[in-house]
């Protein structure tokens, strides 16, 4: 406290009530979730909710689906984001317009709107995607995009890549612009071709940004709910049921609030662990 100056002290006093309120709310919600997860419907202490999580075959399936969903979405978003960022980094004229149109637009579209829009684009009676593909002679017959488990998963991943690549692109673009141009100039004089310049300058320089983006998008994608829910509702079968859609279903559809709480705590631990691994490797990187 003694290190704070007067202005800082009064500022602290001003924000303190809100900080306390927010923290209390956070602690209360977390606490009540923990409490719920260890009790049964009558409020008795039990571990049954957690045991159910390990015996319920659907949970295993959703875990697997979540891994596919996250790996597919994140790798797609990062690669496409990097590609677009590299392209945008080249052009200097009209960059703001390009950035706002290409990068912000999909990201700014509301989740529900994006979900409904993709659902209609994939439609196998009227869908624009099928129509365009047929007219381009790429496919001969309409593809029922959301009608089988694997196709549905692929389709929601494609939609999610579209929805999320913008954010990675923005991060990468910001990272690219911090790389000093002299590095490239020096390399060019030394005779490095453009691929080599990318590999030996851009990638290492961008690594911290890539790691942070990878961590954030991974966590966001695990927790991302609206797109799947509006497009497939977790179906067909359990084809696109991820842990979060299942948690929602357990709580709001089946009213098994205690099990829902326990599964979300399990998810919390998983995410915590992933974040921990990332942060540790980022910290190591910085220490070097």
């Amino acid at each position: 406290m003694s290190t704070l100056n007067r202005e800082e002290k009064s500022a602290l006093k001003m924000v303190l009530p809100y900080v306390i309120l927010t923290v209390l709310l956070f602690v209360f919600l977390l606490g009540s979730n923990l409490f719920n997860s260890f009790t049964d419907k009558n409020g008795n202490w039990t571990l049954q909710n957690y045991i159910d999580n390990f015996t319920d075959p659907v949970v295993g399936r959703t875990l697997l689906n979540t891994i596919v969903w996250v790996v597919g979405s994140v790798s797609g978003q990062l690669l496409l984001g990097l590609f677009v960022a590299l392209l945008l980094n080249e052009s200097t004229k009209g960059q703001i317009i390009f950035r706002s149109i290409i990068l912000i637009l999909p990201w700014a579209v509301l989740d529900i709107v994006a979900g409904v829009m993709w659902k209609w684009m994939y439609n196998d009676m009227y869908g624009v995607l099928n129509d365009v593909l047929v007219k381009m002679h790429i496919i001969r017959d309409y593809i029922p995009w959301l009608a089988t488990e694997n196709m549905a998963m692929l389709s929601v991943i494609i939609a999610n890549i579209w929805k999320g690549f913008c954010l990675s692109g923005m991060f990468f673009l910001a990272g690219l612009q911090t790389i000093p141009i002299d590095l490239y100039e020096a390399a060019e004089i030394d005779g490095a071709n453009s691929f080599k310049r990318f590999w030996t300058i851009t990638v290492p320089q961008l690594k911290p940004v890539i790691m942070t983006t990878l961590m954030l998008t991974t966590i966001w994608t695990i927790n991302y709910f609206p797109l799947i829910y509006t497009m497939t509702g977790g179906g067909p079968g359990y084809g696109t049921e991820t842990i979060v859609t299942y948690i929602y279903k357990l709580g709001f559809k089946f009213m098994e609030f205690n099990r829902s709480a326990s599964l979300s705590n399990v998810l919390f631990v998983i995410i915590f662990f992933i974040a921990f691994l990332f942060l540790r490797s980022i910290a190591k990187e910085e220490a070097r």
Partner: protein
């Protein structure tokens, strides 16, 4: 001076809050927002007659369940609310969220006018917890223009499953993406409802009479499951079933793409909005059946949450809304939905139209979904069973056996 004006302000605020708590809050779900004006008119009349203030909130169906559930779970909520007859009332009653209504209903003279097959939907542990307000039952909705162009008689829809296959095959032209019958196969309630119609139409039953175990793994149940999925798989008369349900098919029907699907009285305004030219070129009939006529009923009941501080007035409003006069005014203004009062069904001039007569004839055949708190989970197992067959993950025999085991496990908990 400043202090006294502050005091006055404070008093005003307190008065305003006290005034607000005297109003009756009613939540209406499942009704599209366009009905707002009719609600204003009906409620306005009540306010004028009784001097009570009523605050109406309308919700779309998609969000209403979550909204109501969250409020009730948090110990809040309106004084009077709509609850879906598909199992909401017993589910909420089990949690202790609803006020028992038996004594109130006994003191009311309208009880015998309510269609008798509606009461099981609002009973939990022998006590009534809701007053059914409007209802409907599922029928076969079909496009008569498409019947004409396929060379079928527009006034002779299929009555049996054999006729259904025959006519649907004639109506289907898969190369033009035109189909005879829409099989609902999405992971939504529509799929369970459709299966229930086929199951009871084959003479089967979903659960035992005391709702303690599954009763659909019988030769009748298997026949229903096979026939229902065969419509899509073997006969190929349906668009890709796992991606669509009756709501989608209704829209396709408006565009002459699907000739028959399950629908009901609520479909009339919706299909006419989708294509105004379809008026007089679509109608309803009893859904084709295997051995016995069958239908599922649905609808909404008025319930009083136990947290309400204004229960007496809420009950007055419920009685007013369910009175003969209010319903007659409503029907005159909107033409639907189907009232839960028999006297209104028979008296309202608008309801004497032939489509409505089909509905009133079918209604006594309509069964309700099991009014038990576990129904949503049972329903999901039915949806999974149908999807597994449609996706080729399991044979009908395997799927029905798995579903039976899962439903029994759910009910045993």
């Amino acid at each position: 001076m400043r202090r006294s004006s502050l005091l006055v302000l404070l008093m005003l605020v307190v008065l305003a809050i006290a005034g607000v708590s005297q109003t009756i809050n009613i939540w209406i779900g499942g009704q599209v927002a366009e009905l707002d004006e009719t609600w204003d008119m009906i409620i306005g009349k009540f306010e004028k007659e009784t001097g009570q203030k009523v605050e109406v909130q309308l919700f779309g169906f998609d969000i209403y369940y979550d909204k109501l559930l969250t409020a009730l779970q948090a110990g809040q909520g309106p004084d009077l609310a709509f609850a879906d007859l598909g199992g909401w009332v017993p589910t909420f009653a089990e949690k202790g969220w609803l006020e028992p209504m038996g004594a109130l209903l006994d003191s009311w003279d309208g009880v015998e006018q309510i269609w008798p097959n509606l009461w099981p939907t609002v009973i939990y542990n022998g006590e009534r917890y809701g007053l059914p307000w409007y209802t409907d039952c599922r029928l076969l909705l079909y496009n008569q223009t498409m019947f004409d162009s396929a060379g079928l008689d527009r006034n002779d829809p299929p009555e049996t499953w054999e006729e259904l296959v025959y006519q649907a095959t004639k109506l289907t032209d898969a190369s033009k993406r035109v189909y005879g019958y829409g099989v609902s196969g999405t992971k939504t309630e529509h799929t369970s409802l459709a299966f229930i119609i086929f199951l009871y139409g084959a003479g089967g039953q979903l659960l035992t009479d005391d709702y303690s175990a599954a009763a659909f793994n019988t030769p009748e149940g298997l026949r229903a499951l096979k026939f229902y999925t065969d419509l899509a798989l073997t006969y190929g008369v349906s668009p890709n079933a796992v991606t669509y349900n009756e709501d989608d098919y209704r829209n396709m029907m408006a565009q002459n793409r699907v000739a028959m699907a399950i629908g009901g009285p609520w479909s009339f305004p919706l299909i006419e909005t989708a294509n105004p030219a379809i008026v007089n070129n679509y109608t309803v009939s009893l859904h084709p059946y295997g051995s016995t006529p069958a239908s599922v009923l649905g609808g909404w009941a008025l319930v009083i949450p136990s947290v309400s501080k204004n229960k007496e007035n809420a009950w007055e409003l419920a009685k007013y809304l369910t009175s003969f006069e209010t319903w007659m005014t409503w029907i005159e203004a909107k033409g639907g939905p189907m009232p839960t009062r028999k006297d209104v069904c028979y008296a309202a001039p608008v309801l004497q139209d032939s489509k409505w007569q089909v509905i009133f004839e079918t209604f006594p055949f309509a069964v309700s979904r099991p009014p038990i708190p576990q129904y949503p989970q049972v329903s999901e197992q039915i949806q999974i069973m149908i999807q597994n067959v449609l996706l080729g993950n399991a044979t009908p025999e395997e799927a029905i056996k798995t579903a039976e085991a899962n439903v029994n496990a759910i009910l045993a908990k």
